[in-house]
């Protein structure tokens, strides 16, 4: 069948099962926007290309399907570099299509030309510059294959205008339904080595102080159920990293919560004191390990990862299992079922763990009468007033840590955040993407005032496109996490962290963007505002929670310190020696 490149591109996206894409047109990508009118794919028109990228990420996080964004050349492409890098660090499957100047004009510094594949090389899993219209269907197929298999990640496809422009003879192609991929260098491995699995099972049988250290790879492998089976079969405690919140229910007896710089005492300390860390789809990130030479010194390591380069990158494993996490866990479960879970005595360990849980729970000082609102309390009330499959998308900073700490995640794919890159402004567009992918679920963005000002314009997108997300803005008038570091590590010398208490007027701003907006100043108003927000289903809602400015996130491992030097909240400091 004769087609032009633009039609073929859209047809190829349809064949990949794309139901929604996020984007903003411009000169070079214009010809591809014409066939969108006749396509079954829903296009969400964003207000800034960064929003399109984060929406695609939020969609992918929530649905497990690759997110798709399309933008024009030059500034369109550079504006989406941050989301690409974000997706690269958090292994989010995403395909970004960028327009490019006509093939013959590449290299001439043409209008809105930039070296998109050069710029994005180090922030994508792979990228393509397509030179011929005939290559478009195959390249799109390859892009989705690469984005979604092995360790997932973002793939960019750069499309010169002439090969999609129906007025240009270079755009003509012969469409065939069965294009073959040509990726001789790409063979992601999923099956696991049974000898390594048997060795790992023996370590598990013998361990007296084992901990399951669970990372985002569990979610990418759709392995939450398998993980639960492994934990319950062996009775081993689970810590879920920032990228894995929800992979194991927080309410489960074996769940110790989040480890790391702002992890809870028991999760951090159990890892430190462990004799066997079973790392599943986790990458020993510096925010988890603290100072590396002081991290879990007595622990042997089983490391399961689908990316060979993660095995031994940071910490040398005693047993490395290369492959898909779900396949590996199922193999472990089968070995431990047939060969027994071993007779290691873990009573002493269990009582130490429960002792830590009793002495060092997550805690904050409740507000007294007339005090300002506490941000942690807002998270707790929101958690209690929403269905337990509510999707929470967070920005980056103090509010992100409080959301991760004080929410109770009971289901996988209910927590969406920017973990590796730490991208401020992530939450609103990510929440929109999640809601577009899961319209039947309630989606709350938990945001800070610094973050909100970076991407709030996408609330216009949410209103116009009727994607009714809800935003809990924890407004402390500061770049709060930086303020906390200046308080703790820079002698309270506050440099460029105060934003403003009253400017902008968040309620007025949100209303001007078509949202229902509220402002909450005191603890007594919190529940009513949340209840009202939960009733709105036809437009976005923003609640400006005016919270106290001086609250700090605890516990905290100071940067560069060992996890054994965890700082607990002031109220618990007497208990630490």
């Amino acid at each position: 069948m004769k087609m032009d490149g633009g039609q073929a591109l859209i047809r190829a996206l349809e064949l990949e099962g794309v139901d929604v894409m996020f984007g903003l047109p411009g000169g070079a990508i214009l010809p591809v926007y014409d066939p969108i009118i006749d396509s079954s794919i829903r296009h969400v028109l964003v207000r800034h290309e960064q929003g399109a990228g984060h929406m695609a990420e939020g969609y992918a996080h929530a649905t497990g399907r690759p997110g798709v964004a399309m933008v024009t050349s030059g500034p369109g492409a550079t504006n989406i570099v941050t989301p690409l890098c974000d997706a690269h660090l958090d292994s989010v499957p995403m395909v970004v299509v960028t327009g490019q100047v006509p093939y013959a004009a590449i290299g001439t510094d043409a209008f809105q030309e930039c070296d998109t594949t050069g710029i994005t090389q180090s922030v994508t899993k792979h990228n393509f510059l397509v030179s011929k219209a005939q290559d478009i269907p195959r390249t799109i197929k390859e892009a989705f294959h690469i984005a979604t298999t092995g360790r997932p990640g973002p793939v960019l496809v750069d499309i010169p205008k002439d090969i999609v422009d129906p007025d240009n003879p270079r755009s003509a192609l012969e469409w065939t339904d069965d294009v073959e991929m040509d990726l001789p260098g790409y063979n992601p491995r999923t099956e696991v080595d049974s000898a390594a699995v048997a060795e790992a099972a023996d370590l598990i049988r013998a361990a007296e102080r084992p901990v399951l250290y669970v990372g985002g790879g569990i979610l990418k492998a759709r392995a939450a159920e398998a993980l639960r089976e492994l934990a319950e079969l062996t009775g081993i405690h689970v810590v879920t990293t920032l990228m894995a919140r929800g992979a194991f229910p927080d309410s489960h007896d074996l769940c110790l919560g989040m480890p790391g710089m702002h992890g809870n005492f028991t999760a951090v300390t159990a890892m430190q004191e462990s004799d066997l860390l079973i790392a599943l789809g986790a990458r020993f990130d510096d925010r988890v390990t603290g100072r590396l030479d002081g991290f879990a010194q007595g622990a042997r390591i089983i490391h399961v990862d689908i990316d060979a380069a993660e095995l031994g990158k940071v910490r040398r494993p005693d047993v490395a299992i290369l492959g898909d996490c779900r396949v590996a866990i199922e193999a472990l479960v089968s070995d431990l079922t047939s060969g027994g879970v071993g007779g290691a005595d873990r009573d002493a360990w269990r009582s130490r763990v429960s002792g830590w849980q009793e002495r060092f729970p997550l805690s904050y000082e409740q507000a007294g009468a007339g005090d300002e609102l506490k941000p942690q309390m807002v998270i707790e009330r929101l958690r209690d007033a929403t269905p337990d499959d509510t999707i929470v998308a967070s920005g980056v900073g103090q509010h992100q840590m409080w959301a991760s700490q004080y929410w109770s995640f009971e289901h996988p794919y209910t927590w969406i955040n920017s973990g590796g890159l730490g991208t401020m402004g992530f939450s609103i567009p990510a929440a929109i993407g999640a809601k577009a992918g899961c319209p039947d679920k309630m989606v709350w963005a938990v945001d800070g005032d610094g973050c909100f000002q970076m991407t709030a314009q996408e609330l216009v997108t949410a209103t116009v496109e009727k994607i009714p997300i809800k935003v809990a803005l924890l407004n402390n008038s500061y770049l709060g996490m930086v303020r906390q570091w200046q308080e703790m590590f820079y002698d309270e010398r506050y440099s460029e962290v105060f934003l403003s208490k009253d400017v902008p007027d968040y309620k007025g701003w949100a209303e001007s963007m078509g949202c229902v907006a509220m402002r909450v100043d005191s603890p007594e108003e919190v529940d009513a505002a949340i209840a009202k927000a939960n009733e709105v289903d036809d437009r976005p809602v923003v609640i400006d929670f005016r919270v106290t400015a001086t609250e700090n996130v605890y516990p905290m491992v100071p940067a560069g310190a060992s996890n054994s030097e965890l700082v607990v909240p002031p109220s618990q400091q007497d208990q630490r020696r």
């Binding site: 260098g185 380069a309 990158k313």
Partner: protein, 179 residues
Amino acid sequence: MNEQQGSSGPVRHHVPDYRYHTLVVTVENKSGVLARLAALFSRRGFNIESLAVAPTDDERFSRVTVVVDLESAPLEQIIKQLDKLINVVNIRELHPGHAVERELMIVTVAAGPDRRDELVEHLDRAGGKVLSVGADAMMLSLVGPPGRIDEFEELLGHFGIIELQRTGRVALANLDEDD
């Protein structure tokens, strides 16, 4: 092509071999692939001692012979990161002492009529060739293992090197080696 990043001064001469390891990387013969390799080395802080690229007998692929500095990163991590590049089809490690390595040097040396005989004597002993003779200079070429080229280059220093170009090494595994 020689490429060196992140260290000061020439490291090419008289470096102990154990610091370096040769990888033969088969890549897809597509535009931008060399840039991907170079960017990976730069981004991960891996130092390249030498890099040579040429097409193979199969036009779909090129072969890159890269000598990596193991002081900058462990070999295992370098190989694993290279393997993640979609366009990298195969990586073969050549252990020092288990491979035939060759490099080509072309050099213009200051040598008037009075010193030509002496220079040619050295050249013959090293197995090199005279490419061209000028009034006050000679252009020579030498093919050999990188260590022998280093030695000869140092010897030429006594005459005066006007211009010098080396290719970077290429390598093949010894016959009858496993793998």
